[in-house]
């Protein structure tokens, strides 16, 4: 659960038996599904597996992915964060608007500070005041969207000098041939995966999500653990805003609308349980990529964009159902 070595012991030991492969496949069902869906789409569209198409999809998925990394941590800790969409609007509008007024560096710093502040408000209400996360973040979803409109006065914002600013690096730049958004996504995911699997902090988050009461009875500062997950989530949103603002060089007031659901879709598709205490960052990465490829594949096959909405959530419900069926089977094997 908390580490990769637990999920596939057979492979680690170097003894790859048939049963080992089967249990590996069932444990990594999402990966199998990923490869299968790639295969199916490639049958229908020649462009689908072209390098440029894959890079496009990954780049598009990276904004959702960056946010999903943070939200996964919140969910493992046993809570939800639905405010990330509005928070993304807030951060993007802020950084784009301030870019011309106080310079890119200051704009970025101010944007990070205020986004983290919003995360701290979430964390304070949910972690320290112990309010229900669904209600608090749903409220924050509205409140923050309202704040954005007050701030911008309903105007969309943009950056005047789009070609002469190093701010373009985050959304449009490349390092060693890899798009910066993809790089950022990869680095954040890797960092958080390491934190969750290999540090005491990560272990505590798993414990808090798995059984909040027992974590308190084990001397874990549950409230601060929950608080911190919302800071992580807000930090990831700020990174995503950096990429989004830089790529578009402008921002609508509601640019982040609907992101919270896309992020959740990616996380659920990856197989992280919304109940908390289980899941992993790399699963989320795969889930987000599947989401991206499904949408892209459907477009390439000529279906209108709104078919994605139906297909994505049908697949999610199927995935959840399969997962549950699998769990029920496992429950029966415990004999007592």
């Amino acid at each position: 659960m908390a580490s990769a070595e637990q999920t596939n012991p057979q492979l680690l030991n170097g003894r790859i038996s048939r049963a080992g492969i089967l249990s590996f496949l069932s444990a990594q069902g999402i990966l199998v599904f990923f490869l299968l869906s790639m295969f199916v789409f490639s049958l229908f569209s020649e462009q689908f597996l072209s390098q440029s198409n894959i890079m496009t999809v990954v780049r598009q998925a990276s904004i959702i992915g960056i946010i999903a990394v943070g939200v996964t941590v919140v969910i493992i800790g046993g809570n939800l964060d639905l405010s990330v969409g509005s928070m993304l609007s807030f951060a993007t509008v802020l950084v784009v608007d301030l870019h011309d007024k106080i310079g890119p560096m200051n704009a970025i710093l101010v944007m990070f500070a205020f986004t983290l502040l919003l995360g701290a408000v979430n964390g304070f209400l949910i972690g320290l005041m112990r309010l229900n996360s669904l209600i608090v973040t749903l409220a924050m979803l509205s409140v923050i969207q309202g704040l954005v409109l007050i701030y911008s006065g309903g105007q969309n914002v943009d950056i005047a000098n789009q070609d002469g600013t190093w701010f373009a690096f985050f959304g449009r730049g490349y390092v060693l041939g890899i798009a910066v958004p993809v790089l950022l996504f990869g680095l954040l995911a890797l960092l958080m995966q390491i934190v969750m699997s290999y540090t005491g902090y990560g272990r505590r988050i798993f414990a808090v999500g798995g059984n909040p009461m027992a974590s308190v009875y084990s001397g874990i500062r549950r409230n601060w653990c929950v608080f911190s997950t919302y800071l992580i989530s807000a930090f990831c949103v700020a990174c995503a805003a950096l990429v989004l603002g830089s790529r578009v060089m402008g921002s609508q007031n509601n640019v982040g609308q609907g992101y919270e659901l896309l992020v959740l879709a990616g996380i659920i598709l990856g197989g992280t349980s919304l109940l908390g205490g289980a899941g992993s960052i790399w699963k989320t990465v795969i889930g987000v990529l599947i989401l991206g490829f499904i949408q892209n594949g459907l477009l390439l096959m000529g279906y209108p964009y709104y078919t994605q909405w139906i297909v994505t959530w049908v697949i999610i419900i199927l995935a959840v159902w399969l997962d549950l069926a699998n769990k029920r089977k496992r429950l029966l094997t415990t004999h007592s």
């Binding site: 659960m1 908390a2 637990q6 012991p9 290999y198 540090t199 005491g200 902090y201 272990r203 505590r204 798993f206 414990a207 798995g210 059984n211 009461m213 027992a214 974590s215 308190v216 009875y217 084990s218 001397g219 874990i220 500062r221 205490g277 289980a278 089977k329 029966l332 094997t333 415990t334 004999h335 007592s336």
Partner: protein, 520 residues
């Protein structure tokens, strides 16, 4: 009343054709044989106790009997007729009812609705016949001699009364066999006799009772015959009046129990913990006592006397409204359990599953959870150190688990409790508090845990044991603190106190309070 044996005073077996027979029941789950060729029968009017360690297959056998699981092999014969129960409802209609260990009532519904849930009397097609419901419920409540009303909300009843509702459910269809799975686990000593009476009256009506429990005293008090399961195998049936605890235990664990004959600790150091007039509003007040290094202090009292609350206050989970806590001579005040752990206090909580363990986590991760700092550098955990910690306590406490990767939710109660204890030993505490350390644990593990606690005290730990089992408190403690209604009523020497004195102290000096005088 059934005749009792002349010398042992236990009930003699009833001579009658069994109302229920299980023959050669085998139940396989993927990878495990949970039951292997088990035979079992119940005679009308008898209490047949079913014993076995945790994981021996008792619950599985009863689930097969009640239609929750279907056996792979074997026959179920009820009243001479072979049955194949497809689901619990089917079994219930045939007259086989299981009274659940975990209560499965709907708190927001009335007593009557709960009793007839799924079988509400109907009239005019599909309308509920409220009048008949009320009359039928009153009839059932009368048989059970219950003091509550048919329209009381179940959520507002005490645990004991809820259990009566659960039993009332069994009476909807004329039952022939009723299975009680650990029925006294959550009852206080005062509430038990009421349950015993109900069981007795069911017997007199010719119902066969299957009684599952870990408590030997109850089993010898109630049962006519005892059957034992071990690792899914049937090891035999004995008549209660012709056996004793030793024999039954041997049948259960396959060897004689190494009885815990270790002496109590006898060398004490300085005061490790001292409470001075500690109070928490509405929970307990003016609690004062001390524990020395190397000493085991028992805290004895009824459920609700404020014992666990005192422990939680010492552990930083509640803030005292008055009084002082001194640890190692220094006054301390903890804001969170984290501070208490850092100061060297460990609490093995009352409720293993809710408070003690993260059930979805594996054994190793649970074991190191309270002492993560000691197995990490700069926040990064050292896998090898973690394994070493796990291996150390795994061996020292003889925890039975196939691997450290096993989720603790899959372990038996005894092994789960050992993991919780191991978790705290790893933090090297100065003060170890154990709240009901052996509740719901089989005899083998129980003796091991008792021996361990004594050993720990002798090696210098100050230990506080909270328990509602008198033999446990008497067997372990150097001193005993008796609590009643949020107050310490007496302090006894653990070796010279009599059982009567203890009982008086925890029941308010023989003066029952209104709360206790109220019958179920």
């Amino acid at each position: 009343m059934t005749p009792v044996h002349a010398t042992t005073g236990h009930r003699q077996p009833i001579d009658a054709e069994p109302v229920l027979k299980l023959e050669g029941i085998t139940k396989r789950f993927p990878g495990v044989v949970a039951l292997n060729q088990v035979d079992f029968d119940v005679r009308p009017g008898e209490v047949h106790a079913l014993l076995g360690e945790n994981g021996a297959g008792k619950s599985t056998l009863m689930k097969v009997l009640a239609g929750k699981h279907q056996a792979n092999e074997g026959r179920i014969i009820l009243g001479g007729e072979e049955m194949a129960f497809e689901n619990p409802k089917h079994a219930k209609r045939a007259g086989v009812v299981l009274i659940h260990q975990e209560q499965s009532l709907v708190p927001g519904m009335t007593v009557a609705e709960n009793i007839f849930l799924g079988s509400l009397p109907k009239k005019w097609g599909n309308r509920v016949d409220w009048r008949k419901l009320r009359e039928d419920t009153n009839r059932i409540l009368e048989t059970l001699k219950c003091s509550f009303q048919h329209d009381d909300l179940v959520g507002s009843l005490s645990i004991a009364k809820k259990q009566m509702v659960e039993i009332g459910r069994a009476l909807v269809f004329t039952p022939r066999v009723v299975v009680f799975d650990e029925p006294t686990a959550s009852l206080t000593d005062h509430e038990k006799p009421v349950l015993y009476d109900v069981i007795q009256s069911l017997c007199e009506q010719g119902v066969g009772i299957v009684y599952i429990s870990h408590r030997m005293d109850e089993i010898f008090h109630l049962s006519h015959r005892i059957s034992v399961l071990r690792d899914g195998e049937y090891t035999g049936t004995v008549n209660t009046c012709e056996t004793n605890e030793d024999e039954v235990t041997r049948m259960m664990i396959g060897r004689s129990l190494e009885l815990d004959h270790a002496s109590k600790p006898s060398e004490f150091g300085e005061n490790m913990l001292e409470l001075r007039n500690l109070s928490v509003k509405r929970l307990f007040s003016d609690v004062s006592f001390s524990i020395r290094k190397g000493e085991i202090v028992g805290m004895y009292g009824l459920v609700g006397a404020g014992r666990s609350e005192v422990a939680e206050t010492i552990f930083g989970l509640r803030s005292p409204t008055a009084g002082e806590i001194l640890l190692d001579g220094q006054p301390v005040s903890f804001h969170t359990s984290h501070d208490a752990v850092a100061a060297g206090i460990a609490l093995v909580p009352e409720d293993r599953k809710d408070q003690g363990l993260i059930l979805g986590m594996n054994c190793r991760d649970n074991m190191t959870l309270a002492g993560l700092e000691s197995v990490s550098t700069l926040g990064f955990m050292k896998r090898a150190d973690e394994r070493a910690v796990y291996d150390k306590y795994h061996q020292a406490m003889k925890i039975k688990t196939p691997s450290w990767r096993q989720k603790v939710g899959n372990l038996s109660g005894g092994n789960q409790q050992k993991i919780v204890i191991g978790k705290w030993l790893h933090t090297h505490p100065k003060l170890l508090i154990l709240d009901e350390p052996t509740r719901g644990i089989d005899v083998g593990s129980k003796a091991e845990i008792h021996a361990l606690v004594k050993e720990l005290a002798k090696s210098g730990y100050a230990v506080l044991v909270i328990s509602s089992e008198m033999p446990e408190v008497l067997g372990l403690s150097n001193r005993i603190i008796a609590m009643y209604d949020g107050r310490v009523t007496a302090e006894f020497d653990g070796d010279s106190v009599s059982e009567d004195e203890l009982v008086q102290a925890i029941t308010g000096m023989g003066q029952p309070s209104p709360a206790e005088a109220a019958t179920v």
